[in-house]
C-alpha cells in the first residue's frame, strides 16, 4: 500500500471526523429568543377528597369481614384543582387539573412555561381546590420585573397555602 493512498485514507477519515466534531455543538440552538424571559407555573397539589368521611353504622361494620372492619368510610378520589393565571389582567392560563393516579386519588399537577418579552408585569394566580363552585381558595398577585433569560417560577406551598414567586 502506497503512502499516498494511506494519506488519502487518513485525510478522508479526518475530514469525516472533523465534520462530526463540528456538529457536536454547532449550529447553536436558542430555546428562548434574545430579550425574552420565562414565567413558569408549576406545582403539585392534592385537592380535597370528593366527599367527607362517613361514620359507618354498627350494622355496616358487622357486615364487613373481621380483618377489614373500620369505623369510617373515606372515599379515595380527589377533586380536580382549578387554576387561573392572568398577566397584566389578560387571562393566560385556565385549567381544571385532574387528580393523578388510576383511582384519581393522587395530587393534581401543572407544569406550564410562558415565554415573554423582558418587561414589568402584574401577575395574578388563583386556585380552587375544594368543592366550591365560585370564588377561589388561594390567590395571589405580584408585580415582577422579568429580566432577559430570567426563569420566574410560580409555585404553591400546600403547608402554608400560599403561592410563591421566585
Amino acid at each position: 500500500m502506497s503512502y499516498l493512498r494511506l494519506a488519502g485514507q487518513f485525510a478522508v477519515i479526518l475530514l469525516l471526523f472533523a465534520g462530526v466534531a463540528a456538529l457536536a455543538d454547532w449550529p447553536t440552538y436558542r430555546q428562548v429568543p434574545p430579550g425574552y424571559g420565562v414565567v413558569m407555573l408549576t406545582f403539585v397539589h392534592g385537592a380535597e377528597r370528593v366527599a367527607e368521611c362517613r361514620r359507618l353504622s354498627a350494622q355496616e361494620i358487622a357486615k364487613l369481614p373481621p380483618n377489614m372492619r373500620r369505623v369510617q368510610d373515606c372515599p379515595r378520589g380527589r377533586r380536580p384543582v382549578y387554576v387561573e393565571l392572568d398577566i397584566d389582567g389578560r387571562p393566560i392560563f385556565r385549567a381544571s387539573l385532574p387528580p393523578s393516579g388510576i383511582a384519581g386519588d393522587g395530587p393534581a399537577r401543572v407544569y406550564e412555561r410562558f415565554v415573554l418579552p423582558a418587561s414589568d408585569y402584574d401577575l395574578a394566580v388563583r386556585m380552587r381546590d375544594t368543592g366550591r363552585s365560585e370564588g377561589f381558595d388561594h390567590e395571589s398577585t405580584k408585580h415582577v420585573a422579568l429580566a432577559p433569560a430570567q426563569l420566574l417560577v410560580i409555585d404553591f406551598r400546600a403547608e402554608t397555602g400560599e403561592f410563591v414567586f421566585r
Binding site: L23, D25, R30, V32, P34, S100
Partner: protein, 531 residues
C-alpha cells in the same frame, strides 16, 4: 413507496461506496465495516469513560468543577479523553444510522434476517439513552437544557407522580442523590447496550466485531487529531434561575430536542412511537419473499462440516448421526435461520456436477433450485453460446451481472456454484471461459459469498477449484446491481481475451461424455416427460 425509497437510498450508497472501495480497498472500506466500527467506538467510549470517572466528582456541587479541572488542568490526557468520549459516542450514532439505512437499502432485513433488524431497535433506544444521560453529568448549561427537556418529555407519560422537571426549577430542589442516580444510569445503560449488541449478532456467523487493524489505527489517530483540534468543552455553569439561552446542541444525540419546543411533547412521543413501530414491523411488511430452506440428504452427507463452516447465518450445525452410517455426525439445517443462499451447496464436497448418477444429488441442496437444475441450466445456457469466446456467466441475483442477457446462469449467491462446476464447464468444452459475477466486493448480499468464492478459486478454502483449471479462463467480476455498465465493460474485455486463446484442452478425469447439444436435448426431453 418503501421500494422507491430503498432504490433511491441504494443509488445513494452506490455513489458513495464505490469511490470508498477504490480508495480503501474492499477489506478496509469503512462502509462495509459499520457494525465492526460501532463496536470499536463503543470500546473507545468505554475506555475513555472509565478514565474520566477517575477524575469525575459525582456530587451535584462538584461535578461541573471536576469536569472543568480535567478539561483545562489536565487537558493533555483527561481533556483529550473527554473529547474522545464525546466524539466516539457521536460516531457510534453515525455508524448506527448509516448501518440502519444501508441494511434497509440493500434489503437485508426481511425473512430470517428479521432477528438482527428487530434487535437493532433496542440498540437505538439504549444508545440514545446512554448519550443523553451522559450529557446530564457535565452539569453545564447544555446539561440543564437536556435535563429539563428530557424530564418534560418523561413527565408527559403518566408514570411519575410528581413531575421530574420540577427538580430543576430552583436551587436546592436537586440533590446529589438524584445526580448519583444519573451516574448509575450512565453506567448501567451502556452495559445493557453492550449486552443487546451481543444479542444483535447472535444469529450471524463470523460477525465482524473488530475492524481491520489498519482501519482501526487510522480511526484512532484521526480521533486523537480531532480531539486536539476541537476539544470538547462545557458551556458554562448551571444557573437554575435562568432559562437556557443559546446552546451548542449535539445534533447527533439531541436532534429531537428542538422539536419538543416546536411541535410539543405529545407529537414527539407520537413520532418516536410510529418510528419504533415501523422499524419493528418492517421485516414483516409485504412483499414477503422466502425460499424454502436448504435440505440435507443424509445418503450423501458424511458430516464433513464444510457447509456449517461456510454458512453465513449459523443455520447449519452438526448433530450426532441418526441414520446408522459410519460417520459421527450429520448436518442439520435450522430452517428459522436459513436464507436459502445456497452457499452450503457450493461448500459440499458431494456437489460435483461430474457425478454421473442419473439423478444428481448432493449432501445439502436447495429445494427451490437443486444442484441438478443448476447443472442442467449450465448445459442449456452453454448450448446457446457462440464460438469463438464462449463465456458462461455464473451470476449472483444481487450483482451487476444479474440482468445480463445471454450466457447467464442466475444464482442466489455465486458461492452456491461449487468450484467443480467451473471445471465441469471448461473440461467438457461447454464454454471457453467462465465469469463469476458477484456482488460488489464489500457489499456481499449474503455476507460471505464473495470471500468464500475468492478463497475457493484461489485454492485457499475447501472445496478448491482444481489446479488444472486455467485461471486465465476464469474471471471474477464484483459489481453492485447498479454497476451494470462496468460489468458489461469488464465482460467484454474478458471475452476479447478469451477469443484470443487457443481452444481449451483439459484432461477430463472422466471418459468422453455427451456434448452440450446432446445433453441439452436430453434435458429438454426430461423436462417434457416431467410435464
Amino acid at each position: 413507496m418503501i421500494g422507491a425509497v430503498r432504490t433511491a437510498l441504494r443509488y445513494g450508497f452506490e455513489l458513495i461506496e464505490r469511490p470508498f472501495e477504490r480508495l480503501f480497498g474492499p477489506a478496509l472500506n469503512p462502509l462495509a465495516q459499520l457494525g465492526a466500527l460501532g463496536f470499536f467506538f463503543y470500546w473507545v467510549v468505554a475506555v475513555s469513560g472509565i478514565y474520566l470517572f477517575i477524575f469525575f466528582d459525582t456530587g451535584i456541587e462538584r461535578a461541573y468543577e471536576s469536569v472543568e479541572y480535567l478539561t483545562y488542568d489536565h487537558w493533555y490526557h483527561a481533556g483529550v479523553m473527554r473529547s474522545l468520549h464525546r466524539y466516539a459516542s457521536d460516531l457510534m450514532v453515525v455508524m448506527l444510522v448509516v448501518h440502519l439505512l444501508r441494511e434497509f437499502a440493500y434489503d437485508h432485513y426481511r425473512g430470517v434476517r428479521w432477528y438482527s433488524w428487530f434487535t437493532g431497535l433496542p440498540i437505538i433506544w439504549l444508545l440514545y439513552s446512554s448519550g443523553i444521560t451522559g450529557y446530564w453529568l457535565v452539569w453545564d448549561r447544555l446539561a440543564l437544557y437536556v435535563a429539563i427537556t428530557s424530564s418534560e418529555l418523561l413527565d408527559y407519560l403518566p408514570i411519575f407522580g410528581e413531575p421530574i422537571a420540577r427538580n430543576f426549577i430552583a436551587t436546592g430542589t436537586l440533590t446529589s442523590r438524584f445526580f448519583t442516580l444519573m451516574v448509575f444510569m450512565h453506567i448501567a445503560l451502556p452495559l445493557f447496550l453492550l449486552f443487546i449488541m451481543w444479542v444483535h449478532i447472535l444469529r450471524i456467523s463470523r460477525p465482524k466485531v473488530n475492524p481491520p487493524r489498519r482501519l482501526a489505527i487510522l480511526m484512532l489517530v484521526a480521533l486523537f487529531a480531532v480531539s486536539l483540534w476541537r476539544p470538547a468543552l462545557s458551556q458554562g455553569p448551571v444557573d437554575l434561575a435562568k432559562a437556557p439561552l443559546e446552546i451548542g446542541l449535539d445534533w447527533f444525540f439531541l436532534p429531537l430536542y428542538p422539536l419538543v419546543d416546536m411541535w410539543g411533547r405529545g407529537e414527539v412521543w407520537a413520532m418516536l412511537g410510529v418510528f419504533s413501530l415501523l422499524i419493528a414491523l418492517m421485516p414483516w411488511l409485504p412483499p414477503f419473499r422466502r425460499a424454502k430452506p436448504a435440505e440435507v440428504d443424509l445418503a450423501h452427507c458424511n458430516g464433513c462440516a464444510r457447509c456449517a463452516e461456510d454458512c453465513p447465518y449459523e443455520a447449519i450445525r452438526l448433530v450426532p448421526r441418526s441414520d446408522g452410517l459410519p460417520f459421527p455426525t450429520e448436518a442439520e439445517v435450522n430452517a428459522a435461520h436459513c436464507v436459502s443462499c445456497g452457499i452450503c451447496v457450493g461448500a459440499c464436497p458431494s456437489s460435483t456436477p461430474f457425478r454421473r448418477t442419473e439423478d444428481l444429488k448432493t449432501g445439502i441442496d436447495l429445494p427451490d433450485y437443486r444442484l441438478k437444475e443448476l447443472r442442467e441450466r449450465v448445459v442449456e445456457v452453454c448450448n446457446g453460446l457462440q464460438r469463438p469466446g464462449r463465456i458462461l456467466i455464473l451470476a449472483c441475483d444481487h450483482g451487476g451481472g444479474a440482468r445480463h442477457v445471454g450466457g447467464r446462469v442466475s444464482l442466489p449467491c455465486v458461492a452456491m456454484a461449487p468450484p467443480s462446476l467451473i471445471d465441469y464447464a471448461l473440461s467438457k468444452d461447454f464454454a471457453d471461459g467462465v465469469v463469476i459475477a458477484g456482488c460488489a466486493e464489500s457489499a456481499c448480499f449474503h455476507r460471505l459469498g464473495v470471500a468464500w468464492t475468492k478463497a475457493r478459486v484461489a485454492g485457499e478454502r475447501d472445496p478448491y477449484l482444481r489446479a488444472r483449471v486455467p485461471r486465465e479462463r476464469v474471471r471474477m467480476i464484483w459489481t453492485s446491481a447498479l454497476e451494470t455498465r462496468r460489468f458489461e465493460r469488464e465482460l467484454k474485455a474478458f471475452a476479447a481475451e478469451i477469443a484470443q486463446l487457443a481452444p481449451v484442452r483439459l484432461r477430463s478425469p472422466l471418459p468422453p461424455s455427451v456434448g452440450p447439444v446432446k445433453m441439452a436435448k436430453q434435458v429438454a426431453v426430461a423436462g417434457r416427460s416431467k410435464g
